[in-house]
């Protein structure tokens, strides 16, 4: 086996040093009944060429662009990934290091993570961000659990029905069995935003938190200021969830509009679609809540010569110290994905990220215009959207299927989660879609 160096001579010499005669002697203390049944019914190993051929054959059974042009978003977005991102995360010094427990020989990971925390906190308009969570959905669930710690007496949490359906399901799974916190939905209005009157009615007694999308699952930009005015008056925490982090390059930061915790999905920052993972959970909050925060944190400090350096810090919140009283059970997170995002954001930079986000907004408006003019589509919700929008068109499901046959993934049918939106598709357009691609989308959806 090419990954394992031991020769027969090595094995014999090492067994001799241990004082054993055979490899079986090494495991003789494991009960024989267990050893007898341990045979692996797995074919023998393969060389690199055979492994490559088999996996290339599997990969070829999946259809991606240009064979299938993707306009699906709904929590995972096609974006361009600059070459430098992959070049950096392929560096074995980053990719094959462990969590930086020995800071003196992990300054690379630590400084990059500190930079990540800074960039995400700045994007969110909040003071602190952690080193990452698994994805946007689990970051949302962890935000709800954090709200429960901050408001232990509140019995409910209000979750917008316009949050990604899968995120709502994950929150439900995390809360199940914990006791003391029921999740209650807040409906959306005809404009696609949280129904403010319905929200107001549910704010007494005060819930632990109100959780809203920004933009929400329909790509719609909530009126955060109006929502924050109500949560502040009720004395409850406001949690924003951003499934498409690219939006934060353009939108007013949630922290500046009243969010106490801002979470999101950072996949758009240099991380491939990869059939749903690994992605990048973003988590930011106010400084005064930091000790209730889940996840790892990197802090700046100095070494014995007074030189600047970085360490994992505030670990007394975490499972390896606090065990059953930890703020979360998270240990391994998504560090290399956080590095990819840091490289991506550094490349885009102060002006580039804004322009890129703006390009997304314009592309989506151009796509909407084409769908209206050529496919007879109508916008479902009237409120402003970012790079994703819901359109209604007669026989949407049939047209979606036909577009698929024509090599276009024409968004995502919304009826699978919202029966009232059976004739609606959720379509996203980003900087990767050329004008020709968008023409192909519109033509594929023509009745």
């Amino acid at each position: 086996m090419r990954y394992i160096p031991h020769t027969e001579a090595d094995v014999a010499a090492m067994l001799g040093a241990i004082g054993l005669r055979s490899l079986d002697d090494l495991v003789a203390h494991i009960p024989a009944a267990l050893r007898r049944q341990a045979t692996l019914d797995v074919p023998n190993g393969l060389g690199e060429a055979d492994v490559t051929a088999r996996l290339a054959a599997l990969a070829a059974k999946n259809r991606v662009a240009p064979s299938l042009l993707c306009f699906a978003g709904a929590g995972a977005y096609p974006h361009f990934i600059p070459s430098v991102v992959d070049h950096v995360i392929l560096r074995s010094e980053f990719s094959t290091a462990y969590t930086p427990y020995q800071p003196e020989v992990s300054q690379g990971t630590l400084q990059a993570t500190f930079e990540f925390q800074t960039l995400i906190a700045s994007l969110c308009g909040l003071e602190v961000a952690n080193a990452s969570m698994y994805d946007g959905s689990t970051a949302t669930a962890e935000a709800v659990l954090m709200a429960k710690r901050l408001a232990p007496k509140a019995g409910r949490v209000l979750v917008a029905a316009s949050l990604p359906p899968q995120y709502r399901e994950v929150v439900r799974t995390y809360l199940e069995g914990l006791g003391g916190l029921e999740s209650e939905e807040v409906p959306f209005g005809a404009d696609g935003r949280v129904d403010l009157a319905a929200l107001e009615r549910r704010l007494t007694p005060a819930p632990a938190a109100v959780v809203v999308g920004y933009p929400n699952f329909f790509g719609v930009i909530e009126d955060l200021q109006a929502i924050a005015a109500k949560t502040t008056a009720a004395g409850t925490l406001l949690v924003t969830v951003t499934p498409e982090a690219m939006a934060l390059g353009l939108l007013r930061p949630p922290g500046a509009l009243g969010a106490d915790i801002a979470v999101g999905e950072g996949q758009s920052f240099g991380i491939p679609l990869s059939f749903g993972g690994p992605y990048l959970g973003l988590f930011a909050t106010r400084e005064r809540f930091v000790r209730s925060m889940p996840g790892r944190l990197v802090g700046e400090t100095v070494d014995e010569q007074g030189r600047r350096g970085y360490v994992l810090t505030l670990a007394t919140r975490e499972q390896h110290i606090r065990r059953e009283r930890a703020t979360s059970n998270i240990c391994t997170n998504q560090s290399l994905c956080a590095l990819a995002a840091t490289v991506f954001l550094a490349l885009a930079g102060r002006r580039g990220l804004r322009e890129l986000a703006e390009r997304n907004a314009r592309k989506a408006r151009h796509a909407l215009r084409c769908l209206r003019e050529r496919a007879g589509a109508e916008l479902v919700f009237s409120a402003p959207f970012f790079n994703e929008f819901a359109v209604c068109l007669p026989n949407a499901r049939v047209r979606y299927e036909r577009a698929f046959e024509r090599g276009v993934l024409a968004g995502v049918p919304l009826g699978q989660w919202f029966p009232a939106l059976e004739d609606a598709l959720l379509v996203c357009a980003t900087e990767v879609h050329s004008a020709d691609d968008i023409d192909r989308l519109a033509e594929a959806l023509v009745e």
């Binding site: 990954y3 394992i4 494991i30 009960p31 267990l34 692996l40 797995v42 023998n44 190993g45 996996l55 599997l58 059974k61 096609p78 074995s92 980053f94 094959t96 290091a97 462990y98 020995q102 003196e104 020989v105 992990s106 300054q107 690379g108 990971t109 500190f114 800074t118 700045s122 899968q166 399901e169 994950v170 439900r172 914990l178 353009l250 679609l273 700046e300 100095v302 070494d303 014995e304 010569q305 505030l314 390896h320 059953e324 979360s328 391994t332 998504q334 560090s335 290399l336 994905c337 490289v343 490349l347 930079g349 102060r350 580039g352 804004r354 890129l356 907004a361 592309k363 408006r365 968008i438």
Partner: protein, 495 residues
């Protein structure tokens, strides 16, 4: 921090991103726009932010150089022996990086209709079958994103099982030697934790477990081999005692690298276990993730597995949510798919024969280190180990040095430190896991370094106590980091 400095040549200083660059520089060029889309509007100004405070302005090469220099400050499994116990820092084949980047995997949207995602679903089904086979379990879900996430899914399933029989029960038994994630995951499922003491052989004593088990015991969480690297020889009896009272057995699979082809958890009484694909199955650790933590169950828990599940029907594979007893969804989409691709490539590269060989060589390497070091350091518990060995600090103390000092001095010799001060039941624990990837020559060098450091401690203890000396930074002030948290860069932090 500016100005010429001739001392920076070997370990180049690298300022934070935010202290570099110049207004107007950029490292990204947008794609071209066609004439017909130029007039499309952006968002109304009142919805837009003023600025991206603190964001850098850098050219592409500045960004590249910044991160390449940072990379050079890391030890990694590819560049250094990384004997970090409990973390299985084996070789991460570079082939698997290439495979995960094939466009058919990397560019596949998770909501692609299943007829266009058959390769991905087939890979998942095949990986599930392989994991079930090596563990002796009946069904697998690939959804959990990491080991602790797998524990959470597993404990939720145990809870759902008990609820279906009338009561969730109240407590979970956890050995004192367990990973911290075990009690944290139990607490997240609403359970109280009952610690189980280890006996003087470092094992769980069935006689100590039996009196703790009653009708309120939901489960026991066991790690086998345990965190001392020792096989729990009474595992079958312990599982039997818990099963007898209607409780279930959660098997922490973090140490599966000791078991492939040697013994299967499914035969030891495990009802559910998580795999850490980033340990046993060689997906890179990434400096702290992404990992993947699939869960495997026996039939008794199969109905409770998270949704969606991969199902094979007449028209090929599809994903189904139609499992009414499921604990539900534990994350968006279907797991850390890119890591699943790497783990599958690893498993078919090794095959059944290679996996067993890997386990045998991992055990051989650990026992070789144990035997060669047992005269230098004090073994926490005598007897053969499996994939890792644990020493205490009792021979270091008289020399006036601590476990931490040994760990830091090893960095000067070019070795990452073992896991230290864990498990908690060993004074000043030093936990060494060499893995099967390392040559005998590397182990000999490591052993020689430990011997040299112990020698130094006799002659020049200060040299050891003030280590490391050859790293980019010396010991860092962790107390200051925690007392005056500085968790992001700020303009004021320029010195």
């Amino acid at each position: 921090m500016s100005g010429a400095d001739e001392s920076r040549g070997l370990s180049l200083d690298e300022l934070p991103l935010f202290e570099r660059g110049s207004g107007g520089r950029r490292g990204y060029t947008l794609p071209l726009l066609a004439e017909r889309e130029r007039d499309a509007e952006s968002l109304p100004a009142e919805l837009c932010r003023d600025d991206l405070d603190d964001f850098p302005e850098l050219s592409e090469m500045e960004v590249l150089r910044h991160f390449l220099r940072l990379s050079q400050w890391n030890f990694s499994a590819a560049t250094n022996f990384y004997p970090l116990g409990s973390c299985t820092m084996k070789y991460n084949p570079v082939l698997n990086e290439k495979i995960a980047r094939l466009s058919g995997f990397a560019e596949l949207h998770p909501l692609t209709p299943t007829p266009a995602a058959q390769g991905a679903l087939e890979l998942m089904a095949r990986l599930e079958a392989l994991l079930a086979e090596v563990s002796g379990m009946d069904a697998v879900s690939l959804q959990p994103a990491a080991g602790a996430h797998g524990e959470l899914a597993g404990m939720k399933m145990i809870r759902a099982h008990h609820v279906s029989r009338g009561s969730p029960r109240r407590k979970v038994l956890i050995p004192q030697s367990a990973h911290g994630t075990n009690p944290a995951s139990s607490a997240l499922c609403g359970y109280g934790v009952v610690p189980v003491a280890s006996n003087d052989e470092g094992m769980i004593d069935p006689a100590a477990v039996a009196p703790l088990v009653d009708a309120e015991t939901a489960a026991i969480m066991v790690t086998n081999p345990n965190t001392l690297g020792l096989f729990e020889k009474d595992i079958v009896r312990i599982a039997g005692a818990v099963h007898e009272k209607g409780g279930l057995v959660y098997f922490d699979g973090a140490n599966m690298n000791a078991l492939l082809g040697v013994a299967k958890p499914g035969h030891m009484g495990a009802d559910v276990l998580q795999f850490n694909l980033h340990k046993t199955f060689s997906t890179p650790h990434g400096g702290g993730g992404p990992g993947a933590g699939p869960v495997a169950v026996k039939r008794v828990l199969a109905d409770y597995l998270p949704v969606p599940r991969v199902v094979r029907g007449d028209a090929g594979y599809h994903l189904s949510d139609d499992f009414p007893k499921s604990i539900g969804r534990i994350r968006a989409f279907f797991g850390n798919f890119g890591m699943l691709v790497r783990a599958y490539a690893y498993m078919i590269s090794l095959g059944g024969d290679g996996m067993r060989w890997a386990t045998q060589m991992a055990i051989l390497n650990a026992n070789y280190v144990r035997k060669r070091l047992e005269g230098v350091l004090e073994l926490a518990y005598d007897g053969p180990c499996l994939h890792e060995c644990v020493f205490s600090d009792s021979k270091l103390e008289p020399l006036g040095i601590e476990t931490l000092d040994l760990a830091k001095r090893l960095l000067d010799y070019g070795f990452y430190a073992p896991t230290i001060y864990f498990p908690l039941i060993v004074s000043g624990a030093i936990m060494i896991e060499p893995t099967e990837s390392e040559t005998r020559e590397t182990l000999d060098e490591f052993i020689a370094a430990v011997e040299a450091i112990v020698g130094e401690a006799r002659e020049h203890p200060e040299r050891v106590k003030s280590a490391p000396h050859r790293t980019r930074v010396s010991r860092l002030d962790e107390v200051r980091a925690a007392r005056q948290p500085k968790l992001r860069w700020r303009k004021a932090s320029i010195e």
